[in-house]
Structure formats: structure tokens, C-alpha cells
């Protein structure tokens, strides 16, 4: 059984957003190495397949990561085992195993599901050919680093055993080609077009079109030749690239180590003091922040406010630097990423003022779309002509 998948892969510090064959998977970007399967009795494999990503256990045999059995994502987080996660500001994504293991795990999980849907059975062996676009933070993105990261995938083949109860399915994953771009840059494609390749429409642009009275049926074609200063606020890094239509302007590539993760780490001690605990994990704090009905929600928000303001001010400083470099020749500042949701109440007014002063339009992506912009951009990129041309060149060079 053979498949070919396009993969758009955003390995965030806190969340893994990955499009596999057009299906979006969102999982906490953690895993843990384990010695044995957690089940003592038989499980029905068919029952596991449906929500496989939420109970994903794989055994990895790959030249690019430590071999062994892993719980992936949500299942790892809920297991109470010792987690491996990417350390905000410390880990280089191209050096650690986590992105490799979790990417292979998710690709294999979709292959198993697709095989099951297509022929209602579970094969022993599946082969998957993969074309993938993924990204590195701009502060880590050099020609050497991206080549190294690409090679980790393409050096394959990788063998991934997916455990459906006691049943095993072997998935052989071969990367035909992988392209690593600076984070946030492919979002220019996602702003213009939707998954079907039509100009993007919908409520993602409502606030923007209304505030600038861009009447008529507004769509992504507006951005096809615009100079956009991106501000992608993640957990551990913020990216400020500038794109012009389908072009990446290399001379302005810039990133900084600011993000929601730093604010959370800073707030955590004070929060633990307020709720009389010696310590509580970052994940607990994040959950309380996301849950307005939690009894400690108000306390968590209160402790977070000042650290978030600090991060937001740093981000504005970096945006100003970029504007100066580009001599204010920017049409739109576009803000997104998980951190943009938490910082909205602080950042939005500051940016609105800055944009009016410099005659620039502000597109602050609504929260329901903010997190997946990067994955959408990478998915659009891997299916597009530019990827195809780069792949062809790489093949000719060999």
C-alpha cells in the first residue's frame, strides 16, 4: 500500500500544527520515551484508529532520532510521564529529536487512518512518499542550519511502527524533498489564497476591510503585490519578515527571542505564590489562562499582565526597527501567532497608533485563525509552483 502526502509542518515551541495530506492536526508539541505499551489487555484497533492522534504511540527507527518507543503529543501530556519538550529560547530546532519524532509520528498516524478509510482494513505495511515544507525561527535560520534540518528528513527512509493496541502497523516514510524556510514567510501565500487555490475570503478579513472601508467583495487578491511586514508572535520567538506579493525580501529578514512563553515563565512564580503552591507546571498555568471559568483565571491573568506588557514593548521596538530599515515602505503590518492572542489588548492599540502615524494598514488576524496561519502558509507553499521549481532544481543538481 502506497501513498503520497504533501505536508505543511509548523513545529512550534508549544504546539505542533501540521497539515498531512490536507488534514490539519493540532497537538501539544511534546513527547516522552517509554519502555513498554501501556495496555495490559486487548484493545480493538478499529476503535483507536478514529482518534489515533489523541492516543498516538509509535516506535521510531530512523537515522535522525534516538530509536525507541514514544508517546506523542496529547497522549504524552496526559500520561504523567517525564516529558520532552522544546525549551523556550534554549533549544535549536534543527538539533533536537522532538520535531523529527513528532513529525514522523503524525505522518504515520494519517497514513494508518487513510489506509483504514480506503480499504476498511489495517495493512501490516504502508509506504508513504512525502513532500514537505517546514520552517525554522529566523534567529536560527541560516543556510547551514536549514540544510542540516532538511537532511535530517531526506536522509531516510524512516520506519515508524504505529501501535493500535497490541496490533502493529509499519509505516515506511520517505521524504522525496523537504524545504525549510524562515518561519512566518509563507504566510503571504495563505493570506492570498485558500486551500482550493481561490482567492481567500471570509471573516478573517472582516475587521480589516471594515476599518479601511475597502468596499466590494474583499478577498486575498488585495495582497498579491503588497509589501507586508509580518509579526508572528510565538511562544519562544517572534518573526518580523517582509514579503512583497510572492517574494521574500531577504534583506529584511529579522527575528527576536520574545514571545508569550517568556511572559508565562516570568508570571509563574508570582502565580504559584498567589495560589499557595510550591510550584505548578507551565502547562497548568496555560490551561488556567485559556479557561475563563477556572477559579484562578483572574489571578493568572493579573500576574501575566505586566510580563506581557514587557514582551509587547520589546516587540514594538523590533517592529519600529524593521520599519526604519524598510523606510516605512510597507503597505500592511500583519500580526498573528499564538502570542498575538494573549497580547491583543496591549499590542493592538499601540500598533494602531503606529500604523496611523506611518500611513500603514494594520491586519491583526482574529484569534480563531491566529495559531494556524503558519501551517496554512506552509501547506500552500508545499503545493505551490515555487516548491515544485526548487525541488526540480535540487534534483538536477544531484
Amino acid at each position: 500500500m502506497q501513498f503520497h502526502f504533501f505536508v505543511g509542518n509548523d513545529n512550534g515551541n508549544s504546539e505542533h500544527d501540521i497539515f498531512v495530506d490536507g488534514k490539519l492536526i493540532q497537538q501539544p508539541n511534546v513527547n516522552c520515551a517509554v519502555d513498554e505499551l501501556p495496555w495490559s489487555e486487548e484493545q480493538a484497533p478499529e476503535g483507536i484508529v478514529k482518534n489515533l492522534q489523541d492516543q498516538l504511540i509509535v516506535t521510531i527507527d530512523s537515522p535522525s532520532a534516538r530509536p525507541g518507543m514514544y508517546y506523542i503529543g496529547k497522549f504524552a501530556l496526559d500520561s504523567g510521564e517525564l516529558l520532552d519538550a522544546m525549551q523556550v529560547g534554549l533549544d535549536y530546532k534543527y538539533d533536537v529529536d522532538l520535531p523529527i519524532v513528532n513529525t514522523l509520528g503524525q505522518i504515520a498516524s494519517v497514513a494508518v487512518q487513510k489506509a483504514f478509510e480506503e480499504d476498511k482494513g489495517i495493512p501490516e505495511m504502508i509506504e508513504v512518499q512525502v513532500d514537505m515544507a517546514t520552517a525554522l525561527p529566523i534567529t536560527q535560520h541560516t543556510d547551514e542550519a536549514s540544510a542540516k534540518f532538511e537532511r535530517k528528513f531526506t536522509v531516510g527512509p524512516h520506519y515508524v511502527t504505529v501501535h493500535l493496541g497490541k496490533l502493529r502497523v509499519t509505516v515506511k516514510v520517505v521524504f522525496d524533498y523537504a524545504k525549510v524556510v524562515p518561519e512566518a514567510t509563507p504566510v503571504t501565500f495563505a493570506l492570498q489564497k485558500d486551500e482550493e487555490g481561490n482567492w481567500r475570503e471570509g471573516d478573517i478579513f472582516d475587521e480589516f476591510a471594515n476599518s479601511y472601508e475597502l468596499q466590494g467583495n474583499f478577498n486575498g487578491s488585495y495582497f498579491k503585490d503588497k509589501r507586508i511586514l509580518h509579526t508572528d508572535i510565538g511562544d519562544g520567538s517572534t518573526e518580523y519578515p517582509i514579503t512583497e506579493g510572492n517574494k521574500l525580501l531577504r534583506q529584511f529578514v529579522h527575528g527576536s527571542n520574545h514571545g508569550a512563553g517568556y511572559a508565562i515563565e516570568e508570571a509563574l512564580n508570582e502565580f504559584n505564590g498567589l495560589i499557595h503552591l510550591p510550584d505548578s507546571p507551565r502547562q497548568f498555568f496555560s490551561d488556567v489562562i485559556k479557561n475563563p471559568t477556572h477559579k484562578y483565571h483572574a489571578k493568572a491573568i493579573k500576574t501575566l499582565r505586566r510580563p506581557l506588557e514587557g514582551q509587547a514593548k520589546q516587540i514594538i521596538t523590533n517592529i519600529r526597527k524593521q520599519l526604519t530599515k524598510a523606510r516605512n515602505e510597507i503597505d500592511v503590518i500583519c500580526v498573528y501567532g499564538g502570542g498575538s492572542i494573549l497580547m491583543r489588548s496591549i499590542l493592538h492599540p499601540m500598533l494602531k497608533e503606529l500604523c496611523e502615524e506611518r500611513e500603514i494598514k494594520l491586519l491583526y488576524i482574529p484569534p480563531q485563525y491566529a495559531v494556524t496561519m503558519n501551517a496554512k502558509g506552509l501547506d500552500a507553499f508545499v503545493r505551490g509552483k515555487i516548491y515544485e521549481a526548487l525541488k526540480e532544481r535540487a534534483k538536477q543538481a544531484v
Binding site: 482567492w199 521574500l248 521549481a389 526540480e392
Partner: protein
């Protein structure tokens, strides 16, 4: 064997490290490089049909440049004056391009909206 090209596919080309100034000057004076190359292809096909030129042209061609072109180059007057040769390709009128660019809303994406410059910026 390479995949045959379909309409709308990309072709990517790279200049040689030691490309002759003449070739570069010609490239740099085009306003629409793809269309200019298309015109050269049309002429070649009209004259000789479809053939693999690699079988008919010498690999080292630095000296085989036509006299007139070489002379223009010598005296630093590379194709900047309209109509000075039979092969002159009129540039697309700028006004027409401006009009197309300022059309704010389109309903359907253009088939071929990625050009070589776009590709180059991502390498």
C-alpha cells in the same frame, strides 16, 4: 527522464558564472524576459522546426557572435534604441500593466502568477 512541461509550469534558468557580458546585457534590457525568449523560440521553430539545439550548436560559442551585435557592444550601445534591428521586440506598454495592477479585486486567480524572480527569492 524529466517530466514533460505542461502549460503553466515553471521553467527555471540560471546564468553561468562566466556568462558573457553580451548575453547579460541582452537579458538586463528586457522588460519581459519570458516573452522575449518565447519570441526567439518561435523564430527558431519557424526556421528549423522543433529540434534539440544541443545537437546542432557548438559548445564553445564565444567567438561566433554576429558582427553587428558585437560592434554595438564594443561601442557601448546595447539595444536601447527602438527598432534598430529586425529582431526588436516592442515592450508591453506600461500603461496596460499599470491598469492590470490597479484592478483591486479579482474573482479568479491568474493561472500563472509566479515568476522566476519569485522563485529566486526563496532559494
Amino acid at each position: 527522464m524529466k517530466k514533460p512541461k505542461k502549460p503553466g509550469d515553471n521553467i527555471s534558468m540560471k546564468t553561468k558564472k562566466n556568462e558573457s557580458p553580451l548575453v547579460l546585457d541582452w537579458i538586463n534590457s528586457q522588460t519581459n524576459l519570458m516573452d522575449s525568449i518565447r519570441y526567439l523560440i518561435e523564430n527558431e521553430v519557424a526556421a528549423n522546426g522543433i529540434r534539440n539545439l544541443q545537437k546542432y550548436i557548438p559548445a564553445e560559442r564565444a567567438v561566433s557572435i554576429g558582427g553587428a551585435a558585437a560592434m554595438w557592444h564594443e561601442i557601448g550601445m546595447v539595444d536601447t534604441r527602438a527598432g534598430q534591428s529586425a529582431n526588436y521586440v516592442p515592450a508591453e506598454s506600461r500603461a496596460h500593466e499599470e491598469a492590470a495592477a490597479s484592478k483591486e479585486r479579482e474573482q479568479h486567480p491568474a493561472e500563472d502568477d509566479i515568476d522566476d524572480d519569485d522563485i529566486e527569492s526563496w532559494t
